[in-house]
Structure formats: structure tokens, C-alpha cells
Amino acid sequence: MKNYVTPSVRRWVLIFSTFGLAFLSGHLMQSSRGEAPERPLVAKAINVPASPAIAVALSDPPVMRDRILDTRATRKGSCRPDLQLTRTPDAAIHVTLTAPCHASTPISVRVNELAATDATDARGHYDIRLPFIADRVTVSLGFKDHVLTQTISNDDLPEQQHVILAWHGPETFRIRADMVGADDQSANEVVTGNFVRVGQKGGAAFEIFSLPVDTSFSAGVVRLSVDATVTEANCGAPVSTVAYQSGYLGGLRPTEIAYTMPDCDRVGEVVSLQNLFRDMRLAAR
């Protein structure tokens, strides 16, 4: 019986001290400000000076245990998760998340209506580039306990067209873009250069392919197809995805897609679905 403090006792001490402090500081705040907002009490209780991390906490209050862990880390350095959206010179969005206290941590990624699951790297960084899939793009990165949200607007960027596949589970589909017989060889580079995939295998993920609406290329058509790989896991089984394409009224239009994979004697083959997306036009005719 060397250790008198069992884990359960420790938990009670922790809860008591936290609530005690909360009660105290709440009392103080009430006397000083004449109001009793519930959420700031917790923040005050852990005695963190007014920092931007609090602002995040206020918008989405975490449970107390994590708050205290955050505080410890804050003493060592900045633990505040920070999400920045910047516009790159080539008219894309650079998403950077710095969360040193959330190294190798799962995150949920939301980009307007699209969702994916991913993870920060060993230093707590998460770094992706996204196209402007709408005039206003809102990116939300969520940890288990709180969410960071930023919005960026596309004021005067050249218009782009997009197709997107979104799915959940094993990676089955890939967008393919082909430009047959285009008179401008460099057009082929464009076709291969604008894919973005977000998400990890097994979770929610999406793939975006983007092209400018009007470019210096002569009129041309990019044929879009979707490749589906037949695997042991999906052969003969129904698979589904949501396909988004810029609609004729503007804006991305989702369509639920269902497909039954070929039988298991075709494992390893790649099936090409030709008519899932409309062709894209490089320039108006």
C-alpha cells in the first residue's frame, strides 16, 4: 500500500479542485461583472491569461480534463491550435493547421458540404491545398473536443469548374481526366495537375478535379470518367459515392451514385465508368 492515492481518488481530487476553483472564480466574476456566463468560468478556473486559445474554447467548450492538459502544455509553449486559410498565388486555398498539442491526432475536415477524416502529423501540423470550390469556402477542422472554423472568399478569381467524388470507407473510385487530340500539348499538363484528395483510407474522403472555365487554350473538351478497382473486399458488392459537378445554374450539384462492382473473378481489374460526369469544356464555344 505504497500509493495512498488511487486513480479514483485522484479523479475526485481533480474534479473537486476544478469545481472549487470554478465556483470561486465564478463568484468573483459575478461580483465584478454582474453576470454569470457559464463557459468562461471554466476558462477562468484554470487560470489561463486571456489568450486566443480561450476564444476557441468559448465557441465550443471542451470537457475539463482536456482543458487542463492544454493548460499544462501552454506553460511549456503555445498549445493553441491555429487554423489559417490563405490564398496562394495560383488562386488556390492553403489550409494550415498548427496544433502542437494534437500531434498524430485524428481530425475531421469539412470544406463547405464536403467531409473527410484525416490526422495531424507528428508535429501536430496539417497542411492541404484546396481549390475554390465556391465563392466562399468555409473550412472546419475538428478534434474530438473542439472545432476550428475559418472562411475565405474568392472575390476576383477566375471562375473554375469542378467535379468531386465523396465517399466513406475503402477507396474505390478515382476521377480520370483525358484530353484526346487537344491541339495544345500543354493542356494535358492542366488535366493531370488539378487533382486534390483529402482524407485517409478507410474513413470519409473526397477527391476534387478542377479546371479553369476560360483559359488561353483553344476550345477543347476534357472527358471525365471514374475508375473503380475491383478488390476482394468490394467484388460483387454494392458501392456508393456522391458525385458533385458544377451545375448549369452554378454551384456544385450532388448526385448519389450507386454501383454494383463486378464479380469476384475480376478482382484486380479496373472498371471505368464513362458517363458519371459531363465533359468539361476548357473554353466556351
Binding site: 487530340g181 472527358r223 448549369y248 448526385t255 450507386a258 465508368l273 459531363r278
Partner: protein, 496 residues
Amino acid sequence: MLNRLIAVFALFCASPTLAGPVQLVNEAGQPVLEGTLLSREGELFRLETEHGPVTIDAGYLRCSGVGCPDPADLTARVAVGGTPDLVHRLLPALLEGFADHRGLVLGRTFIDDDRVSWELRETESDRLLAVFDAQAMADNKVASALLSDEIGLGLGYTEANVPVRQSVVALDALVPAVSSDNSRAMVTLDQLNGLLNGRMASWRVLGGPDVPVEVHMLDGWNLSSQKFGSIRNREGATRHTDPSDLADSVASDPGALGLLPYSSIGNAVPLVVSGACGLATPATRDTIRAEDYPATHPLFLQRVGARQHKIIRDFIAFSRSPDAQMAIRAAGFVDQAIGQIGFERQGDRIANAVLSAGEDRESVAEVRDMIGTLLNGSRLTLTFRFRDGSSDLDPQSVSNIQRLADAISEGAFDGNDVLFVGFSDGAGPAQANLQLSERRARSVRRAVAARSALGATELRVAAFGELMPMACDDTPWGGQVNRRVEVWITPSEVTR
């Protein structure tokens, strides 16, 4: 027929026992009919009422009461057959437009590259309203598939000559096309015929490199390729069932020459075809809408006389509506929205008129008169043309009558005059041609007026005979392009 019998039988078997009182109410919630449901075929309800048995189309009504059928049994299901481009590009665009228009959710199941099943659901209840089972087939199979009940809706390039109801949903055109690596941009009709039928086997004949001419054509399509001369038995031509495949083959081969729909041209480049007199009209959205391009093809949505569910009928009506035109255009087809082409954009045509007019004072006066009449106006993209060697309007023009009448009734040209301007080809005496062109303009005006609520729009007629040719009269297609009634919007004579 057997299919339908089986379908009806299955429907009755699947329906729960029909008994108990039902009340049919309209959209405003007012009761329309009460009684006991005796039987049902789709949305046709047969009710025992106090006045005896009554059969009623319940498509526009809501059923309440214990005797009502399960809403799931009311899901509409229709098989759609058509050419690959129409089934895979036009139909999705129309369904997307219809879903947006009605606030429905659209989903699709891929069966294989030829078959797709589309589902329309209510947004909130997720109730399945309609299923469109779409299947790609050769153009020349659509009519027989409709007649054999294999499909309930057909999409094709061929005007049906069997008892089928059809409407023009979009426009297209047959165009000759080459690779962008082929420097040839224009050929005469005679040269094109030579290239297609093998008389000219190498591009060298036309001053190009010594590369053999590889001809690509569509298989099983009833397109009016005879407009390009006799090429029916072209041996050695590569045949394609999907026009997109044809376009890709042509685009990637500098020696290739293909005949394909304008909407599917992809990265191939259209060849402009001129007549012997040098006049040429390239295929563009405007020249196809105006049917100034000679090989224009209407796209037909066809159905047999059988009753369709209300939602299918609504879809058919939507596909012809102004709301559908943007979706049709976005899918790469030529829509039927009525556009205006200002006088200042018609320099080529005016130049043709001046150059082809005689040098005597009378001819010069006629040209001056025509220019004076049209100077302040805009030409509509909608034009009336006639079947080969006939005074009957062609299918696209028949469709145009109602379209123009609707636009006039909606007040699209209020405060202006709509001027029907008749033109003829150059065959025969000029005076007779002038009279003929005026007669045609009057008959088109009459047909449009009969369907219009005129309001503040005056319909007038003018005729200029053979004064403004658009194509060379030396070919049948040229004559057909020249025989036309154009529609111009001019400032009202009253307010002028």
C-alpha cells in the same frame, strides 16, 4: 404489349386488397370525389361513388382514407431508350433541371456503361416518386423499341413515321470534322463528297500532305448524311456506335475525317462546307437554332400513346419549357431559346444580298428597300423552313410555331412588331419567287397568330424573294436553306 399486360397484372397482384372509403382532394385541399376504390391502373383510379362507378386520373389529386393505395405503389417507372449521347448527356441534364425545378433529390444507379437507373425522390419524406431506367441504343432501334413497349420514352435523331407522339427537345446538326492537326478548314460540298466516298483517297488531292483519308461514321444512326452526297456504301469506313468515341478517334488522327453530331464534336474540329458559288455557313449555336446550317437535326423525345404517370408527363412538359433550355445548353446541345441577332451582326448576309443582286436600277431599289425594312430590327434565331420539295414546315419549324406564339403571348416583344420575312431560292422567275415567298410568310404568320394572345404586338409580313441567298442554289441543301421565313423584331410602326 405482353410487357404491359405483365406489368398491369403485377401491379394488381402487388397492390393490397382495395377496399374501404377513399376521398380524393385537389391541391387546394378541396374534396373532388369520394367513394370506394374498385381498381387502379397506375394513377387511374376506378371508384364506386354515389353516382355509380367513375374512373378518374388521380395524378393531380391526393388520396386520403383507409382504402388508399400505399404511396410506394404509386412510384412511376419508365424505361427510356436513346442514342448514347442523348441517354448519357441530354437525359441527365433534363432530369437535373427537372429535379431542381421541382425541388426533388436525384440519384442514379450505374448498371453498366449502357444502362443507368435514375431515381427522383421527395426531399423531406425521401419517398421514391419516379424511376427512369435509361438504356443506350442505336438511333434506328428507338422507334421499334417504343412500339414493342420495350421502352416508354425514346430519345433520338429520327423523326418517327409510326404512330408515336413526339416533340423536339433540342437541336443538333451533322457536321464533317477533322483533327486539329489537319490544316484543312473549308471544303466544297463536292470535295467533301469525294473525301467521304473514297474518290479522294489522300489529303494530297486537296493540297495537303500525302496522308490517307480515314473515314469515321456512325453505325445505326439515321442522320441525313445524304446531304453530303451519296456515301451510303462507303467501304473501309470505321463505324462507331457512340459519337464521343468517333470524336476522339478523329481528334487523335490527322488523316481522319468524321461525320458526327455537332453536340459530340469534342476536340475534333468542324470543316466548313461551301457550295460552288462560294457561300458557306459554319455550324454554330446560332446557325443551328436558325437552321441556316443545312444539316440541322432536331432531337426528338418520343412516346407511344399510352398513359404515363403524372410525374412523367410533367417531365416531358418540362423538357420543352423555357426553364429546360439552360440545362440543355449546358449539356452541349443546341437549345431552342429564342435569341436575337442584331442587324449589325449580319454584314455577311447583307453583302451576299448586294453582291448577288442585279445591276439594274430595279434590283438596286429592291435591295435598298430590304435594308431599309430590316435596318432597325433584329433577326430572331428561330426561322421557318420547309421539307424537301414541299410547302409543309419541317419538324423544327412546326415546334417553332408554338414557341414563337408562346413568346408573343408572354409579351416578350411588346411594343415592337414581329415581322415575318419571306425569302425564296433562285430557281425560276424572280417575280414568281417573290410571290411565293410572300405566300409562305403569310401562312406562317397565320399559324402563329392563331396560337398567340397578341396584346401589344403587331404581326406584319414582308417578302423579298431570292434577294438574300444564304447558300448556293446549285445543291438541294442550298435551295432548302434559301427557302425560308425569317422572323424579325422591328420597332412598332405605330410608335415610330
